[in-house]
C-alpha cells in the first residue's frame, strides 16, 4: 500500500526447539497508515506479541528466526537492517510499551534516568536538557508533581504510574510508530480507563501510528480504527472497527464476539467456542480453525485458505465467510 507507514507481508516467525519447530507467527499480513491505530487481537498463544517483537526485530535468534516475510517501515525493509541500524530506530522512530510495567522498568534506576537514557541516546541532548524534557514528559503523561517523581524508583510507584512512565519513555523521542503490547491488561479497570484516556489525548496531539495488541475487544472497539484478528499464528480477519463489530465474517471472530458477556445484555448461557486452540506441535491440516468451526466443510479440512479481500478494506481467511 502506497501510503502506509508499516507494511507487514507474509510474516513467519519460527522458534526452533528440542521438541520441534514452533511457527508462532505463520502468515501475518497487515498495514498501518500514519496516525492510524490498528488493534491486533487474539487469545493467548495466537502470535500477536511475537508479531510485535518481530517488527521491532527483538526476537531472540536463536532459537527464533524470522523465516519469511517483509516488514517495511516508512518504505524501508527492516529485515535488511543491521542490529546497529535497528538500535537507532528502536526507541526513536518505533517505540514499544510492554505489558508488565514492573519487569520492563529497570528497578535499580530512577524513572527519570530511564527517560533520560532514551533522550540522550537518540536526541543527543545534554543531561541537563534531557532532565528538563523528562520532567515535562512525566507531566504530559499525567504524573502529579513530576519534578519530584522524576527521582522515584519504579517500586515506589503504582502499576498505573509505572505504565505512564513507560508511555513517557516511549514517547520521549516522538516515534512515528508506537507499539503497545497489552498496555492495560495488568491494570485495574479504573486505571485502565485513565491510561486509555491519556493515550487518546497523546494520540490526538501527535501523528503517531499505534499498533495496539490486546485480547480485550472492548479496548479495541474504543480505541482502534482498524482491527486484525489472529488465530493460531495467522491473521484471519482484518477490517475497520465498525465493520468488524457489526458484520464480522470469520467464524472465529463471530464466536469470539458472541462469547463475551456483555453488560447490557442478559443471557442464560454464554455462547462458547467448542474445543481449544491447537498446540503448535499439532496444527490441524487445512484451515487451522476447522476443528472448532460449526460451518466446516470438506475443503476446510483439506486445504488452507489464504487471506483474501472480501470487500475493499475487509480481508478474511476463510472459504465460506459468513456474509
Amino acid at each position: 500500500m502506497k501510503d502506509s507507514l508499516l507494511d507487514v507481508k507474509r510474516l513467519r516467525t519460527h522458534f526452533y526447539t528440542d521438541d520441534g519447530v514452533i511457527a508462532a507467527v505463520d502468515g501475518v499480513d497487515f498495514s498501518l497508515g500514519p496516525g492510524e491505530t490498528l488493534g491486533l487481537v487474539g487469545e493467548s498463544g495466537c502470535g500477536k506479541s511475537v508479531t510485535a517483537l518481530s517488527v521491532m526485530r527483538l526476537i531472540p535468534t536463536p532459537p527464533g528466526r524470522i523465516a519469511e516475510g517483509e516488514i517495511r517501515f516508512a518504505g524501508e525493509d527492516l529485515l535488511a537492517k543491521t542490529e546497529s541500524e535497528m538500535r537507532t530506530i528502536r526507541g526513536n522512530e518505533i517505540a514499544m510499551v510492554f505489558q508488565e510495567p514492573m519487569t520492563s522498568l529497570n528497578p535499580v534506576f530512577t524513572v527519570g534516568d530511564q527517560i533520560i537514557e532514551a533522550i540522550v541516546l537518540h536526541q543527543r541532548l545534554g543531561r541537563r536538557e534531557a532532565h528538563v524534557q523528562a520532567v515535562e514528559m512525566l507531566g504530559r503523561v499525567g504524573i502529579p508533581s513530576p519534578e519530584h517523581r522524576v527521582n522515584d524508583y519504579p517500586h515506589e510507584m503504582s502499576g498505573g504510574m509505572r505504565q505512564r512512565v513507560m508511555i513517557a519513555i516511549s514517547l520521549s523521542c516522538n516515534p512515528r510508530l508506537l507499539i503497545l503490547d497489552e498496555p492495560t491488561t495488568a491494570l485495574d479497570v479504573t486505571i485502565q480507563a485513565q491510561i486509555l484516556d491519556l493515550l487518546s489525548k497523546l494520540r490526538a496531539e501527535s501523528e503517531t501510528a499505534i499498533l495496539l495488541i490486546t485480547h480485550d475487544l472492548g479496548v479495541v472497539a474504543e480505541f482502534a480504527d482498524r482491527v486484525a484478528v489472529m488465530y493460531a499464528g495467522q491473521v484471519v480477519e482484518c477490517a475497520d472497527v465498525p465493520s468488524m463489530f457489526e458484520q464480522p465474517v470469520h467464524p472465529y471472530t463471530i464466536g469470539l464476539l458472541r462469547s463475551i458477556p456483555k453488560l447490557n445484555e442478559a443471557r442464560n448461557r454464554l455462547q462458547t467456542i467448542e474445543g481449544v486452540v491447537p498446540s503448535p506441535f499439532s496444527m490441524p491440516e487445512g484451515c487451522r480453525f476447522h476443528p472448532r468451526c460449526e460451518y466446516a466443510m470438506d475443503v476446510c479440512r483439506e486445504r488452507a485458505p489464504d487471506l483474501r479481500a472480501l470487500r475493499p478494506g475487509h480481508d478474511v481467511r476463510c472459504f465460506f465467510p459468513l456474509v
Binding site: D188, F245, V276
Partner: protein, 328 residues
C-alpha cells in the same frame, strides 16, 4: 432459590502487619485488608464480590473458610461460629465449604496426577477406600466435562481451562454446600471463560450449590451473580441485587467502576467517569469515607465521618453520605 441464610459475615476485620522501610528505618505498619464488613449469603444463591486489586475481596474469601485468622469479627456458617471452632469441629465444617483458586497453573500440584489431586480431599477426610475413591474421581471428572481417563495424567498436560475444571472437581469432592470461587476465570481466555462459567452454572443447578464469586470482571459477575457487593479499600461500599446495582448504581465508586468498562461495541455511548489518581494505600486509608479523595461529589462530612452501609430500601445497601442524606 431458598431464602434461608447459609452464611453470615459480621464486622469482619483483617489487618496484616508488615515491616516497612529499610535497615534502621524499619517500622511496623498494618495493611488494613478487610476493615469491618458484614453481609449474609442465602442458600442456593451466587453472591458476587467485586472490586479492584487490593480491595480485600480475596482476603474476605480466605477468611470465610478460615485460611486466614481474622483480626476480629465473626463468620457464621449455618449458625456455627467458624472462628470459635476447635480443630476437629473445623474439619467437619471444611467439608461443607471449599474453594477454587484463580491461577490454574499454581493451584494444582505439578507432581501429583489428576487422580491424586481430586482424591486428596477424600484422603484427608478419611472417606472411602481406594477403589471407592477412584470411582468418585471418575464421577467428578465426568461432572466437570472431562474424561475419566484423564485421571492418570498430570496437570501440565492440560490447558488452563481444563486445569480449572480439575480445580472445580477437587472442590466438589466432599459434596460441599458452599464454594468460594476466587477469580476462577480471570486467567482464562475469553472463549474458554464461557465454558467454565456455563459449567459452574450447570453445577449450581444440579447440586444446589451456593457460590461466593470473587472477581474484578464486572461483566462476568453480572452474568453469574444474584446479588453483588462492591468493595473498596477493605470496605463494602454498595450491595444490591444484580439488576439493581448495574442499572442504578448508588455509590460514586460503583458508578465510576461501571463506566470504565470498555464496551465491545464501537457505537456505544461512552460516558466515562474518570477517577483521579490511584487507590490510596491500605496502610494509610484516608480518614472519613475511604473514597472521598477520588470522589467527584465529596463534601466536608465525607472527610470526617465514615459512612455506614445503609439500606436504601428493597435490599439495596450503600455506604455514602450523599445517598443517606447526611450531607448539609
Amino acid at each position: 432459590m431458598e431464602s434461608r441464610v447459609l452464611l453470615r459475615v459480621e464486622n469482619l476485620v483483617k489487618y496484616f502487619s508488615v515491616a516497612h522501610g529499610a535497615f534502621a528505618r524499619k517500622r511496623m505498619s498494618e495493611v488494613r485488608a478487610v476493615d469491618g464488613i458484614s453481609f449474609h449469603v442465602y442458600g442456593g444463591e451466587t453472591f458476587g464480590l467485586v472490586g479492584e486489586s487490593g480491595c480485600g475481596k480475596s482476603t474476605t474469601g480466605r477468611l470465610i473458610i478460615r485460611l486466614e485468622e481474622p483480626t476480629s469479627g465473626r463468620v457464621r456458617f449455618e449458625g456455627q461460629d467458624i472462628f470459635g471452632l476447635s480443630r476437629e469441629a473445623l474439619r467437619g465444617i471444611r467439608r461443607e465449604m471449599q474453594i477454587v483458586f484463580q491461577d490454574p497453573y499454581a493451584s494444582l500440584n505439578p507432581r501429583m496426577s489428576v487422580r491424586d489431586i481430586v482424591a486428596e480431599p477424600l484422603i484427608v477426610h478419611g472417606i472411602g477406600h481406594d477403589s471407592e475413591r477412584t470411582e468418585k474421581v471418575a464421577e467428578l471428572l465426568e461432572i466437570v466435562g472431562l474424561d475419566a481417563g484423564h485421571a492418570i495424567r498430570y496437570p501440565h498436560e492440560f490447558s488452563g481451562g481444563q486445569r480449572q475444571r480439575i480445580g472445580v472437581a477437587r472442590a466438589l469432592a466432599l459434596n460441599p454446600r458452599l464454594l468460594i470461587l476466587d477469580e476462577p476465570v480471570s486467567a482464562l481466555d475469553v472463549s474458554v471463560q464461557g465454558q467454565v462459567i456455563n459449567l459452574l452454572q450447570d453445577l449450581q443447578q444440579e447440586l444446589g450449590l451456593t457460590y461466593i464469586f470473587i472477581a474484578h470482571d464486572l461483566s462476568v459477575v453480572k452474568h453469574i451473580s444474584d446479588r453483588v457487593a462492591v468493595m473498596y479499600l477493605g470496605k463494602i461500599v454498595e450491595l444490591a441485587g444484580k439488576e439493581e446495582i448495574f442499572a442504578a448504581p448508588q455509590h460514586p465508586y460503583t458508578e465510576a467502576l461501571l463506566s470504565s468498562i470498555p464496551v465491545p461495541d464501537p457505537r456505544a455511548e461512552r460516558d466515562r467517569i474518570l477517577l483521579d489518581g490511584d487507590v490510596p494505600s491500605p496502610m494509610k486509608p484516608p480518614p472519613g469515607c475511604r473514597f472521598h479523595t477520588r470522589c467527584r461529589y465529596s463534601q466536608k462530612i465525607c472527610m470526617i465521618e465514615q459512612p455506614s452501609l445503609t439500606d436504601l430500601g428493597n435490599g439495596h445497601y450503600c455506604a455514602c453520605h450523599l445517598r443517606t442524606g447526611q450531607t448539609s
